[in-house]
Symmetry: C2
Subunit: 345 residues, 2 copies
DNA sequence: GTGAAAGCGCTAACAC
DNA sequence: GTGTTAGCGCTTTCAC
């Protein structure tokens, strides 16, 4: 009553297990008739090769891993992750390769998770949330786990990477706001040690020529709100704020509204990532669509190519698209005074 | 230059591999000194047990699977899935158990995916999007793969399940709208062969006493829009519409607005699932929070309990919470006439 | 074109 | 408390 094994199939087909194995893998010529006998026997016995045994013998798991260093609760409210994973799965599903997910919230836990991947849970991994100086790059090389990095890693690395140009949309957006008369444009970034936050913030600073109105957030609604408060409390407050994701933008936007400011008349607001509901807010939120689905596809394809023996490569996905909406429409307000507005809040 | 094996460690520690194995598993008493020698040797050699070999020998993978029958592109815009997975991971991470995800978009692909899980990719699975008559229940039993069903499965099943009460919030919402004077209350459901869609629709029908204003959607924005159009075209159109998820509600809401209707004055609108941005829409969307994170936790805990040998059990998670917001506030409009409104659209 | 047999790196009886 | 040994169910040389 146990699951049948390759031996059972071999016996039923009157061949040896080597033949059964090769009939399926095609790694050696098998006569059409034996092949047919083998398949028939397998079908009759309802045999499915054991992935465990296969993994051990072939030193290959047919799975790809992702280790998430984020807190599980944060995963839930993130526009990027589900779309990215969908893209990855779209490719993996075609090859019947599984995706192994592991969440690790401390560095030790994360190292253990990567070691587990290397010890046979996965054949390679995709690394998200890349830091500008990322211990994982050295670590993965040390444990010799194939990887694809999502983001532009500056230092030398033996790994493939999937890059995007986050600077252009930021630059375009600043230019646009300038045309509309904005002179005090602020930026609420994500943690600056992330490569993507840093790229966006860097483009912002180069565009506006100053770090005065740059504030470092952490992608959560709480930080969006707090830093917006800080910016609006300035004597010479900004008339436009660019946020490094939509969650912070929406939090900032709600907060500004609670202070009696009208978006976009008193304050222009823009996000990043283009959450699927952002276009439905009112005013609709200007955002940058970063096509996480497509980046997921490309990352998965790249990893499969690496695993197939191709040399590592850095591919740049040109996917970012500035989506101008009502939250940044219209002319900049003239000389806003914080005091005045507080009377109406 | 190859990864060290348990034999290397045993040799280095001057013991046999059984001792090394037991020093880690604790499945037999090992003297403190030998244990220390073993750990030291392992650390020195930088040994990590091979999950592949371990899985084969122990007939256990230390992974839990989820097979998604949805199209990968749909995953991306779904409020439920990421939060649910986060909840699952929150539990699995503590036990260093991995989550194996596989997307399958046809029945054959899905069967293959489950067989792959059963053949060693995972020790058990969590089944989402349960149908009222679900072939997977019989199939999983046939291939003897432990499972936890998410939703109330009516027929006999040997599996644990995690249920919620979707009827109460629907009933409460209908009652509430009645109090506000609504008499024509419609419902745009999800596919009625899903247990959760069916439960919601059933509660709705029992509350309003008629199927006249029930329309079957498919959880996509497109169907939300189309069915809203259909309902608003009725001569005696509804003054309130309940949708079975927020995506359809928002699509319907935008469409109604495009026809010149004001929410909630002309039309009250409510969703289900409470997407994290729904409270930020204006008017803020009334919705039912279903705590997918918590349900993920419970499902994972239940599955681990099953795998540990406990008898299957059906647990009900009391997590649904009706969140009344502006989109259903105020009194019902009096005798709405479709013709009249069209003049202003 | 097929068979025989040696692993893959562990776990778990079974000894002592 | 520790050693010996037989698997787990495949893949892959090496023969013929």
């Amino acid at each position: 009553m146990d699951r049948p094994t390759i031996d059972d199939v071999a016996r039923a087909a009157g061949v040896t297990k080597a033949t059964v194995s090769h009939a399926y893998s095609g790694k050696r010529p098998i006569s059409a008739t034996t092949k047919a006998r083998v398949f028939a026997a397998a079908q009759r016995l309802d045999w499915v090769p054991s992935s465990r045994a296969r993994a051990l013998a072939a030193r290959r798991t047919d799975a790809v891993g992702v280790v998430l260093s984020r807190d599980p609760t944060i995963l839930a409210s993130d526009a990027f992750f589900p779309a990215f994973i969908s893209g990855v799965e779209a490719v993996l599903a075609e090859h019947e390769i599984a995706l192994v997910l592991q969440v690790a919230s401390s560095r030790t836990a994360e190292e253990r998770a990567y070691r587990a991947m290397a010890s046979g849970r996965a054949d390679g991994v995709i690394v998200l949330d890349l830091h500008r100086v990322d211990w994982r790059v050295a670590y993965l090389r040390q444990i010799r786990l194939p990887a694809v990095l999502l983001g532009a890693y500056d230092a030398e690395s033996p790994f493939s990477s999937v890059r995007t140009d986050d600077a252009t949309p930021v630059r375009d957006l600043v230019a646009r706001l300038r045309e509309q008369g904005h002179t005090r444009i602020a930026h609420v970034s994500g943690p600056l040690d992330y490569v993507h936050s840093h790229a966006r913030a860097g483009a912002y600073v180069r565009s506006v020529g100053s770090k005065e109105l740059l504030r470092e957030g952490d992608f959560t609604a709480g930080s969006g709100r707090a830093l917006t408060a800080e910016l609006l409390d300035l004597h010479d407050r900004p008339t436009a704020i660019l946020y490094s994701n939509d969650t912070m933008a929406i939090a900032g936007f709600s907060y500004a509204r609670s202070r009696g400011l009208v978006v976009p008349d008193d304050l222009a607001v823009a996000g990043f990532d283009d959450d699927h509901l952002s276009a439905h807010l009112s005013p609709a939120l200007t955002s940058v669509f970063t096509d996480p689905f497509r980046r997921g596809r490309v990352a998965a394809e790249r990893l499969l190519a690496d695993l197939a023996g191709e040399p590592p490569e850095s591919v740049t996905v040109d996917c970012n698209e500035l989506r101008l909406r009502a939250s940044t429409a219209g002319a900049a307000p003239e000389a806003p005074h914080t005091e005045l507005e507080e009377e109406f809040s």
